[in-house]
Amino acid sequence: MIEIKNLSKTFQTSDGNVEALKNVTLTVADGDIYGIIGMSGAGKSTLVRCINMLERPTEGQVLIDGVDMGALSQKQLREMRRNITMIFQGFNLLMQRTCLKNICFPLELAGMKKADAKKRAMELLEIVGLPDKANAYPAQLSGGQQQRIAIARALATEPKVLLCDEATSALDPKTTHSILELIKDINRKLGITVIVITHQMSVVEEICSHVAILDGGAVVEEGAVSSVFSAPQSDAAKKLVFPEGFDAPVVERFADEYRVRVVFNGADAAGTPLIARMALEKGICANIMAASTKTISGKAYGNMLLGIAGDRNDLEAAMAYLTAVEDVVAEEVDD
């Protein structure tokens, strides 16, 4: 378990002090894939570097399985870091070493025998699906392949925690997907706790079970991905979940039309064309004036603004129909 308690980090610059992190408290359970998301400059990278003490927090604690990271000696910290490895946006492979030797590198640091290290590295190349690239140099590989080698290198010392610092930000969508699949696979098979730092909502949606939203160095929202995404409370969360705008835009209202806001809180979106069925079954025609919805693991989240033509009875019928659906909330909007 990773416990981050009241963590603050202040950088001293020539322009005065910059508070990168403000009183951050988070708990990550073993075996979880935990997302930390925020815009550029929100403090994500500083936060992840405080976990393995690459960056020393100004205040607060990081406990990993009860061990206070800040209280370790340099030597103990170096040994601890073999349990908490990291992958990066820029892959950061040693460019003058072959892929095999890159994977051997952390084992070499730990003092493992060359032959044993090589054997382990070959196994890891199999796991990440690049056994034929053992003797290739990083410069000869694509970005996705380089990240696979970096993942293999991070797994070499059999860590308990894998920190991913914008690991897919430099990759195209297809490669991103395959790398995320690999991370998910590793998490499932090896039970490694994964912390994912990203600015991409899609990454959190795809692999994370829990998420913390970081804004201006502080955690503004935290919880299960489904609950944070269905009802984002903070402005930062709303902006991330619905970049097009959470609040429905002002649309000119027709006479004799009622407005209804429909909120999806994880409704079963697959196979239920809700609005179309309402038209067929109840004969109520709804005009979709604005919609901002997302599908996360088969469930619909977000909201929709409907214009219902007709009289008060039609409105009531529509409200009744919509509210009857599980995880859907409907409310009349006045203006």
Binding site: R81, T85, L94, Q96, F105, Y137, A139, Q140
Partner: protein
């Protein structure tokens, strides 16, 4: 001064000197250059490493006073003109090799002039190493010593070779200057015949040989640097 250089008698004289002295001169120049560069690298490499790892936020931060002193000494040595440095190094040469005159004695001022230069070249090579790669190594639990020996130095090998090549060619041209204070080699031949006895053709031929030597060192250095650089694709 150049109109009477290429007379038949001049060629005649020059040929005799070429036969009697050039081979020895070439060997002395080569030997002095290689030995002086070797010792300059021996001293300059660790200092160059210290300049990079010892700074604030470096891998192994040194006390500020130590780093400042190092920088000042290097700058001081680098700002003394070589001709004067040679004279100033007489006592040290006498202490180390027992004499101030001759080929071996000239190695001492050459090393003193070259090692601060090498330290700066090493510094610039090591600064080229991607700091993110160093951070990655730290995140894997590398100690400062491991970062130096397993990351910084291996990652900057191509650049180090290019820079050592620059050092060699610089030492070579300095070694020619040491002919003035009794150092041997092609420089001595050029100065003795060209400056003291107006035999310009001999001087020219010695210079041609020096140019050829520089070309050879440079070609080998460039070839090695590119051959060993694994960042270059399709090689």
């Amino acid at each position: 001064m150049y109109e009477k250089i290429f007379t038949p008698e001049a060629w005649q004289q020059a040929w005799e000197v070429v036969q009697s002295e050039f081979l020895m001169g070439l060997w002395e120049t080569f030997y002095v250059t290689v030995v002086a560069t070797f010792f300059a690298v021996l001293l300059g490499l660790p200092l160059g490493i210290l300049l990079v790892v010892g700074e604030k936020g470096g891998v192994l931060p040194l006390p500020k006073a130590v780093l400042s002193t190092l920088n000042i000494v290097i700058n001081l040595l680098r700002s003394v003109p070589f001709l004067i440095l040679m004279i100033m190094a007489f006592p040290l040469a006498r202490l180390i090799v027992g004499t101030t005159i001759g080929t071996v004695a000239s190695i001492v001022p050459l090393v003193i002039a070259a090692f601060p230069f090498v330290a700066r070249l090493v510094e610039s090579s090591l600064r080229e190493v991607n700091p993110n790669i160093i951070e990655a190594a730290q995140s894997m639990g590398a100690s400062p010593m491991q970062i130096i020996t397993k990351v910084m130095l291996p990652e900057s090998v191509p650049s180090l070779i290019s820079n050592v090549t620059i050092a060699i060619t610089t030492v070579l041209s300095y070694s020619a200057m040491s002919g003035i204070i009794g150092g041997g080699g092609l420089g001595k031949i050029a100065i003795n015949y060209g400056y003291y006895r107006y035999k310009y053709l001999i001087m020219l031929l010695a210079v041609v040989l020096l140019v050829v030597l520089v070309q050879i060192f440079q070609s080998i250095g460039t070839h090695l640097a590119t051959k060993l650089d694994k960042r270059l694709k399709n090689r």
